[in-house]
Amino acid sequence: MSTSNFQSSTANEHTDFGKYILRDKLSLNLPNNEIICTRLNDTSFSYKRDSQETDPVKKVIHSQTADFEIGLMPLLPIHVPSYKTDFFFMRFTEQMYISQHSVAEMLISFPIDIGVFLVENDKAGLLDSFSCDMTNSRFALYGPPDNGKLCKYVQIPIEDQSVQQPFVHTQIKLRIANELDEGVMVGKIVFPVTDHKLYYKHSSAVMDGLTATIKSRIGVTVVDTVQNPISGIEGWMQALRDVQVTDYKFSMEKGFD
């Protein structure tokens, strides 16, 4: 994993994901956010994040070691405003028609959160998590209020996938397979995002793919969502995470239009 050293107090204009060693002062610039870490003594440093969208965050961090190693990582988009669910709700701005026995594949821009970790002795502790696009970090309910599932939520434009900003979006390969004998309209996909791993390279991030299979189960049309491990990404590093990798068996049984 690449490690960069920053000793100057000037802001780094080309912040990348990765690990950084804090000598005296470290500045990281991200969209709408600026992080400044300042060494206080041999065992502690101050952490400050100024945001254009939220109140500033200030913390004093105590570490076991004098070499403060800080990880700036893409995070699964379930941490902001607070961690409440492992599930994610993708609402397509335009409904998709998937004809019978066909497969639709697409690359879509998917939101990410940013995590700042303190790395010591091969263990990483999350110091702060935030989104560079707070206005679109929202919740939604999949299903009726009495027994629905709370999810993080994003609207995804299918027609225009050109909007992809560093530190705001990752790319995910979505595969929708219709095993039914008739075409269906798909307007949303809900899936357990904690099944997925994130990888980063410079300021870009990619996530494991997702396969949604539309099928009939005991007369009810459901969508099975399964994570597809990403392959062929030499040079990309797996991001640190603070949520365990899960292996949910999840089916959308409450509609997908």
Binding site: A140, L141, N147, L150
Partner: protein
């Protein structure tokens, strides 16, 4: 008399059985061992098995195991001493009637407590409201006789189980989301559609308000002084503190910024001219 203790120097008469001091000591040892086993088993259960069970079930099972072993130990003591409990039964029958009248509410609470443990209208940690008692707080524990609820001011309310069992209980933590409602009054001269649009945009700024089901705003009432708009939003169930106190404040601010008037009741008073006596000149 049921107990005739120390009728002679080496034996004790309990329920008609002559017990030696040695056997009494054995009985005490059995009881001590029983209590120790109860504590060890219940502690092991709590440490290794309770974590995998729902909190409420774990607590109930913990009590069941502890008191179950204690009761078994007690029976083992009486059996080992050869005590005939039939005398106790007869005495207990009469005594029970007296005690029954005296402890009616205690027994009622105990039975209600058992029913509550089976009925489980809420589990530990749920936010509940007992409407008849005007109690609203987080359920801490259901014991044999009472239910403990932590109120929002930090105090703990002990409610007798009978009262809880016979009351209507509203469980706010029953689903993952809950709804927050509010009423906003605008002046009659204002454009209702514009006001609804502004309110929708205002509530959408709060990160805890769900996008689906979407916030809903409609005309609730054409009231005396204002057109009342009802605002309904859904939030994650434990996030009331992030939404409830600021929802109407933020709506008012955005409505004010848009120049929409929020009226208040006004009364126009007409002063009548005093009647003047005829022929009087001003």
């Amino acid at each position: 008399m049921v107990f005739d203790i120390f009728s002679d120097s080496t034996t004790v008469n309990i329920l008609g059985s002559e017990l030696s001091l040695g056997s009494i000591i054995i009985g005490i040892i059995i009881m001590i061992v029983g209590v120790t086993i109860a504590r060890v088993v219940s502690t092991v259960f709590k440490k290794y098995f309770a974590a995998n069970l729902p909190d409420n079930t774990a607590k109930s099972l913990h009590k069941l195991i502890y008191y179950g072993i204690i009761i078994i130990s007690l029976l083992a003591v009486t059996t080992s001493q050869g005590i005939d409990l039939s005398g106790l039964m007869v005495a207990g029958g009469i005594f029970g009637i007296v005690i029954g009248f005296a402890t009616q509410s205690v027994v009622s609470n105990a039975i209600s407590g058992i029913f509550l443990m089976f009925d489980r209208p809420a589990k530990t940690g749920d936010l509940i409201e007992i409407k008849s008692s005007n109690i609203y707080g987080r359920l801490m524990d259901v014991t044999v006789f009472s239910t403990r609820i932590r109120m929002f001011d930090g105090s703990i309310m002990r409610v007798p189980n009978e009262k809880v069992f016979t009351s209507e209980i509203r469980n706010v933590s029953g689903s993952e989301v809950r709804r927050i409602e509010g009423i906003v009054g605008i002046a009659y001269k204002e454009d209702v559609d514009q006001a609804i649009e502004i309110i929708k945009k205002s509530v959408a700024k709060n990160p805890y308000i769900l996008r689906e089901p979407a916030p809903n705003v409609w005309t609730e009432q054409l009231a005396d002084s204002s057109v009342n708009l009802k605002v309904l939003t859904w939030i994650p169930r434990d996030e009331w503190d992030h939404v409830g106190p600021v929802l109407l404040k933020n709506i008012k601010k955005d409505i004010d910024d848009a120049g929409i008037e929020i009226p208040f009741p006004q009364r126009t008073i007409w002063y009548g001219e005093p009647k003047k006596p005829k022929g009087e000149t001003p």
